[in-house]
Amino acid sequence: MKWTPAASLALVPVAAVLAPAVAEAKIYVSVEDTQQRLFPGERLILNPVALTEAQRERMRELSSVREPFRGERVWKSEKGGWFIVDEVVGKHEMVKYALAINADGTIRGIEIMEYVESYGYEVGEASWRAQFVGRTAQDTLKLNKDIKNIAGATLSCKHLTDGVKRLMVMYDMVLKGSK
């Protein structure tokens, strides 16, 4: 048995719980719990980044994500990994997610932190998210090519994939070289 208790007993609205494929899916997980999930036992230090307009433009260009990126939600792990919280539009509502990057630049994992849409929750399924693990900033990360689509959740899949891409672009430009 492997049991990983949550850092806090955060409140979660009743919904997709234990049956994530239902229609009215809503989920909220705290930053601390998500960090613990992606970097178990590791200490993370807040490491905000400031981006130039040129860097932002490059992220938009390579990922086609228009929403502004908030640089204050970036953490560095004690072993040199990175933890970034970001938001993209799912279908109508924002999806909040976290991306973890290993010290060697490969994707460690992604977690959905807030999902309030009625449809498309399938992006929360571990098997879909696992497709990102091991990818790097050099991967194109295109839906239907590198990442499989989920029928019925196309927009959420597309926007999350683009979101991960833009964070990897940002990692490549900014975080990779930082000490």
Partner: protein, 272 residues
């Protein structure tokens, strides 16, 4: 089934065989229900509850499994887990009324004459509601694995078992408001069960009763807390929730012996 909703999810490489695995899972649950329902006079439990002192009774190997585990847990918990509390549950309208009154009904009155044969030393009224649901979940997991399932999740009204490579987020009901959930953590290859009174408590003759009974004084528990146990197998987790509830001890020595952890949730006031 089992007086609740049973939800099974399967992870299988082959869609056709995934359906077979699901079916096998539900069939295992149905067999437990057939053997161990206290509502069915023809189940093993129904027949044990009518068994005359001195007579031997042959039972299904699965019922024998659960009874052996129940006896073991009764000993290990110093009597805090006892499936003999059916007369109290019947008196409160949670089980069918008994034809005659029985005092001091306890699992200790049951013994094995052979591997699949039991006897009672005095009249016994058994209710396996505190362990059979967990056992059903375990057998469903076995059946699904035997059908080649890579992983899966079986949830019988909060008694759940996860197997396979994936971990599952476990949410517990807030005992103050069971419509609200709290994220307790992540479970891989293991079981979780919860006992509380929020769904079973009711008023009988001006007194509040519940399906959680303290076997020491045979009184219903009026607690507002909920008791969850995480253990490698669900039958044990299910039974240990009663030990934790009755002892009010999330670190009861019995837990360690079964490699289990407990979580007691307080009924929190509303907060945004």
């Amino acid at each position: 089934m089992l007086g609740t909703y049973v939800d099974i999810r399967v992870d299988h490489d082959d869609a056709a065989r995934a359906a077979a695995a699901l079916e096998a899972g539900f069939a295992a649950v149905a067999r437990v229900q057939r053997c161990m329902s206290a509502f069915d006079p023809e189940s093993d439990v129904g027949r044990i509850n009518r068994l005359a002192v001195g007579d031997a009774l042959d039972i299904d190997p699965w019922t024998a499994d659960v009874l052996r585990l129940s006896l073991e847990l009764h000993r290990a918990s110093g009597g805090l887990f006892d499936c003999g509390i059916a007369p109290e549950l019947a008196a409160w309208g949670m089980l069918p009324p008994a034809p005659s009154a029985i005092a001091g009904s306890s699992i200790t009155r049951l013994s094995f004459a052979a591997a699949g044969t039991i006897r009672v030393s005095a009249p016994l009224r058994l209710d396996l509601g505190g362990i059979a649901k967990g056992y059903a979940v375990d057998r469903a997991a076995d059946a699904m694995r035997a059908c080649g399932a890579r992983g899966g999740l079986i949830n019988a009204g909060g008694d759940l078992r996860v197997f396979g490579p994936e971990q599952e987020a476990i949410h517990l009901r807030d005992p103050g408001n069971p419509a609200r959930l709290r994220l307790a953590g992540w479970l891989g290859d293991g079981a979780c069960a919860t006992s509380a009174t929020y769904f079973s408590r009711r008023d009988v003759g001006g007194h509040e009763v519940s399906a959680l009974v303290d076997p020491r004084n045979r009184q219903p528990m009026r607690t507002r807390r909920s008791y969850s146990v995480f253990a490698p197998c669900c039958a044990v987790a299910d039974a240990l929730t009663k030990v934790v509830a009755v002892s009010q001890d999330a670190h009861h020595p019995c837990l360690e012996r079964y490699d289990a952890h407990a979580l007691i949730l307080e009924s929190c006031p509303e907060r945004p």
